[in-house]
Structure formats: structure tokens, C-alpha cells
Symmetry: C2
Subunit: 238 residues, 2 copies
């Protein structure tokens, strides 16, 4: 296994292929870390996100990029989300304070757990995740208290921590940023957001719908940042 | 998806196919719960454990048994354990207080995380795991403080908890039992331990080695319980 360059410390970065995780990888790289990236093929309904993750890892100089398959689809007994089941992705949704149907049960807990195993394998103690609790969809596993609870768990769960080789730190550098701040941070660090994919319900060729929560947060973020979103959107019906 | 009988509450039981998880399933069943069992095909070096899990689920009346594949082998970038990598399983090991090489990085964290997603899918709030902190190999993710930290995390991570539909409880009914107590509990509940497989390094046909940590804890437990271990062992070389 490739363990990063000899001169810099390894870290693990969760990379979905979206705007937030690309920015998170750029931040980890800017700190001089050798980034071992993990993406998940979890039964999501399209592949554009994983293709984007590959581009982002390559362009931002990850030392390693692994795609882990863990099937959270309805066929596998999971489902219960518009991203993994036969449930329509909501469009033009008003934020009513409820958790939307795009929530995937325990997704970030699963992703962080597997990232923790990967961190033990590559001898990393720093795990980066691009969650954000400002311009987000209200998912419980994006909140600071969730991240803190996972960090506490990580330091009880592992041989690396129990044997005193180090302490795990879960880095969520975007957690208190709004979308415009995230985009400006990424642009400053050289992220080209045309590499990324955000839409929950893309059309043929990966064209973004412009109307799901993820597209709307992205578009509003670019507008607030005074930057042009390089993503390709479907023509809207009049 | 089958969601258990209409009259009883669902729970999720992690089922490895070993002695401890079989006893745990019997305990959950004795409490009148409809048991949705999860086993993991995680790149372990043999299949006997998963075959045993199928037998145990069937014999003890689980309402559902799913095998989730998540590859933690060295080829997938994980490994670093005698159970998932080209590392010899230690034999006749004296307990030196160290975590042995059979530790699988973050295994119980990953298994519980996926069990949490499954619990949301089957609308269960009770998750059973057969960890035990007395006659065990010293794995950090078998300790009571780990289980408590995971329970805390589960109640921050999920829509089911955030929306007030219930509170997750991680049940580890064996955690303070010694192996003989576990075996006596299982026998009283009708477990036939010939269904189970414990050996880390089985020979052809699944014959147990009798010398790995898992076999030695099992054999000592049966001896202390005054019961006969129905498992088939390899003939020991003189």
C-alpha cells in the first residue's frame, strides 16, 4: 500500500466528490498533509459523484484514493433515503426544519468508522470530513456534537489510541462556514469546482437539476461568493 | 423487507457465528424481541464463521438475517490483522496485556455503525452485540466505555433519535460475564454450541485448532462450566 510521501504526515480525507469535500481536501493539502482519500460506493443512484471524487483526488494531489463498497441500498435491507431507495428527490423544497428524505441512515457514522479503520492502516491520526452545519440540509450527522462524539469514540475504539501511539482528531474545517465562505476558501486554494458534482438527481451526462437541496445551496453559495458556478445545469422548464 | 412479527418489537443483533453472539441472540429472543441479525463478510480468511451465523440465526428463530459485505482486507487497503491479512494467528499465547494481532482495526465501530443504519431501516432502537470484557483478547472495542460512547453517538447521529421517535440502546448482555457464565446462560436458553464456530485458524472442514486465543477461551469456558464443547477439534501433534 502507498503510505504517502516519507516527509509528510498522513491523514485520511472523506471525499464524496462534492463541493464541500473537495474544499476539505484542499485545506488538508494546504496544511502539508499527505492525503489518503476514501470514497464510498454505497448504493447511491448515480455514479457522477464517484467520478468527480476521482477527478478531485487526482487534481488536488491525493497520495491515495480508495473507493469502498458498502451497500446501503433498499435491496441490501437499508434504503429509506431518496439517495438509495425508490423515493423522489425533493425539488424547490422550503426548509421546514425537518430532516429531509435525502438523509441516509447513519451514513456519516459508517463513513467515519471505515475512515477510522483506514487511518489505523495508514498510520494516520487526522481524519477530515467536509460536514457543515450552516448551509446544509439539517442532517443530524453533520452537527458539531456528532463530530465530537465520534472523536471521543475513536479514541476508545482503537488499538492505536489504546496503545498510546497517538490521539485521533476528527477535523471538520467547514463546520462553521457558510457556503460562500467555503467556496471562497476553495477558490483561494486553487480548487476548480468544475471537477465536483453536487446534484442529488442528475440527468443524462451528469447535468445538475438546479432544484434539489444540494443544487440550491450550491447556486446560492456561488451567488453570495460573487463567483460563477462552473457546473453544467439542465435547462429549466419554463 | 421483512420487519419481524407484527406483535413484537424489532431489534438488531450482530451475529458473528461464534459462541458469544449466539448466546446474545438467545438472550434477545428470550426477551420476546423479533431479531433482525447482521453478519459481515469483511475479508476474513475463512467462511466457517458465516456458515455458522446462518445456522445460528435459523435455529434460534431470527426473523431476518443479512450478510453485509465490507472489504477490510489488505487488498482493499485495510488489513493489519491476523484475521484479514497475511499475518500468522498466534497459538498458545500467554496474555501479556497487549492487544494481539488478531485485532481488526475499528471492527466493532464499523459493525455497530452499519447495525445502526439497519436499525433505522427496520425501526428498531435496540442493538445487541456479544462483546465481553472478562474472558476476551483485550480488544479496545469490547470495553464498556466503548459501548457507552457508541450509544451516545448513535443518539446524536440519527434521524430516528433527532426526531424523538426513540432512543437507541446498545445492549451488551455478556460484557461482565466470564466464559463459563456465558456458556451456562446459552445452554439454559437452548443454544446448541455445535452450531457455532470460534476458531481463528480452522483447518479443512472447519476443524478448530484448539490453540488460538479464541479456541483456548472457549475450551477453558466449557471446562469451567462443566460442559462438553461439541466443536470438532483437529488432533494435536504430540
Amino acid at each position: 500500500m502507498q503510505n504517502g510521501s516519507k516527509s509528510s504526515r498522513n491523514c485520511v480525507v472523506l471525499l464524496s466528490g462534492g463541493l464541500d469535500s473537495a474544499t476539505t481536501l484542499a485545506i488538508a493539502r494546504s496544511r502539508g498533509l499527505a492525503c489518503c482519500c476514501l470514497s464510498f460506493d454505497y448504493g447511491q443512484r448515480h455514479r457522477y459523484e464517484l467520478e468527480a471524487a476521482g477527478r478531485v483526488a487526482r487534481e488536488l494531489g491525493a497520495v491515495e484514493h480508495r473507493v469502498v463498497r458498502v451497500d446501503l441500498s433498499a435491496d441490501a435491507g437499508f434504503g429509506h433515503s431518496a439517495l438509495t431507495d425508490a423515493i423522489d428527490v425533493p425539488k424547490d423544497r422550503d426548509d421546514d426544519g425537518r430532516i429531509p428524505v435525502t438523509y441516509v441512515p447513519a451514513r456519516n457514522t459508517i463513513f467515519l468508522s471505515i475512515a477510522l479503520a483506514f487511518a489505523e492502516a495508514v498510520e494516520a491520526f487526522d481524519i477530515f470530513i467536509g460536514v457543515n452545519a450552516i448551509d446544509y440540509s439539517g442532517y443530524p450527522d453533520c452537527r458539531p456534537e456528532f463530530i465530537e462524539a465520534f472523536e471521543r469514540l475513536a479514541n476508545l475504539a482503537t488499538a492505536a489510541a489504546a496503545e498510546g501511539r497517538g490521539a485521533f482528531k476528527i477535523h471538520a474545517p467547514l463546520i462553521h462556514m457558510n457556503k460562500a465562505q467555503i467556496i471562497r476558501t476553495g477558490l483561494d486554494l486553487g480548487v476548480d469546482y468544475s471537477w465536483t458534482h453536487s446534484c442529488y438527481d442528475p440527468g443524462p451526462g451528469g447535468l445538475a437539476c438546479g432544484r434539489c437541496d444540494s443544487c440550491r445551496l450550491r447556486l446560492a453559495g456561488f451567488a453570495a461568493a460573487g463567483a460563477k458556478d462552473p457546473a453544467a445545469y439542465r435547462k429549466q422548464e419554463p
